[in-house]
Symmetry: C2
Subunit: 194 residues, 2 copies
DNA sequence: GACAAAAGTGCACGGGCGTACTATTTTATC
DNA sequence: GATAAAATAGTACGCCCGTGCACTTTTGTC
């Protein structure tokens, strides 16, 4: 059994029970491996958690970031980021919803290497967004006084509230509201200064 | 030891480890009670989780909803909701951040009474927001074509991204960005239709 | 085909978990 | 102050946890 296959399954499991609820015994069971056989691949549970997070991140890069970066620079690329991001649960379906959202609320007060890794990943992602917005400004698509970091946090909010409404509340309108909210964000960034 | 005191501590503990990570043994230890003595108060762990959630909700009502509802109807009340909500981590400080955010990502795929309760609470809260917005419309403060449910989801997004940025990323600007984002939301709702 | 490396197994350990059951102590009521 | 009720304690149970260790099987290389 390849490590990739293990991490793939572990990622799905974590999305349901969290990185803390992820258990070597259960993971081994589901993969029809002995507990010690699986354990040997990683030398600790913490390593397993770390690698699950890294695996998920590389998926995210392939499914969201890379394709979006191939869109024309400026506003279209910002739009592409949003579109791909919103499609991320479909291009990479996990049984328990986005693993990063889960991990974020789980690890936000648990110091350690796993948290540190997640923080770095999230900061990197927010910076990618901010930089894309910056380019949209220098390209003349967005207003000069748009704050890229503000835009990034706002966009993140659109995704998080969409996740909340769709996964917890099962609200069928969550998706379309997210699109509407992004549209408002985009238009506000374009609008000429009063 | 009164049940209120137990729930109070259990709420703080849950905010750190989650409702699933909440453990009767640890809770008993920290309260200097025997495990079975504490267990007798609730007849199962699920009951404990449920009551923790109910306790937190009643706190939220007292700290956020009631005070906000005493503001003048219409736009000021919408503003009051946001202000109180943003202050909620301060008026009711928990060691591990908002317990509802934690619970939402933990329970979003775990059917059962605890999840059902959380969903009802969240829907109620979103409806309170939407109704307040509705009143702001009939009062003539907000435009007629403002969608109250859309506004509620957007506002939720502002809070969630603020929580994410401040708790996980420890970003000192998270708060002020949230205020800025709400300001944009409010102004967009006021602005005369083009 | 020998042989080293890698992958996987079996078993054991100490510990924490939720939950019964029974006993004891505290508290409130008359 | 007796007595019923409520709160707390003690102990035990089976289960799953992460991890270590010795062993066997598979795999790839010369």
């Amino acid at each position: 059994m390849t490590r990739q296959a293990i991490l793939e399954h572990a990622m799905g499991l974590s999305s349901m029970v969290g990185l803390g609820g992820l258990t070597i015994g259960r993971l081994a069971d589901e993969l029809e491996l002995s507990k010690s056989g699986l354990f040997a691949h990683f030398r600790s549970k913490e390593t397993l958690q770390t690698q699950v997070l890294e695996h998920a991140a590389s998926r995210f890069v392939d499914s969201v970031i890379k394709p979006a970066l191939s869109a024309p620079r400026g506003e279209p690329r910002v739009q592409a980021i949003f579109d791909r991001w919103l499609e991320w649960p479909n291009t990479n379906p996990l049984p328990g919803g986005c693993i990063f959202v889960q991990a974020a609320s789980e690890l936000d007060d648990r110091p350690g290497p796993v948290r540190d890794l997640l923080v770095r990943q999230q900061k990197d992602w927010l910076e990618v967004i901010a930089n894309t917005v910056r380019t949209a400004i220098t390209e003349g698509h967005f207003r000069e006084d748009v704050d890229p970091e503000q835009f990034a946090q706002d966009l993140y909010g659109v995704m998080l509230s969409c996740h909340h409404a769709s996964r917890l509340l099962r609200d069928p309108k969550a998706l379309s509201r997210a699109r509407h909210a992004f549209e408002a964000l985009r238009l506000a960034a374009r609008m000429p200064h009063s």
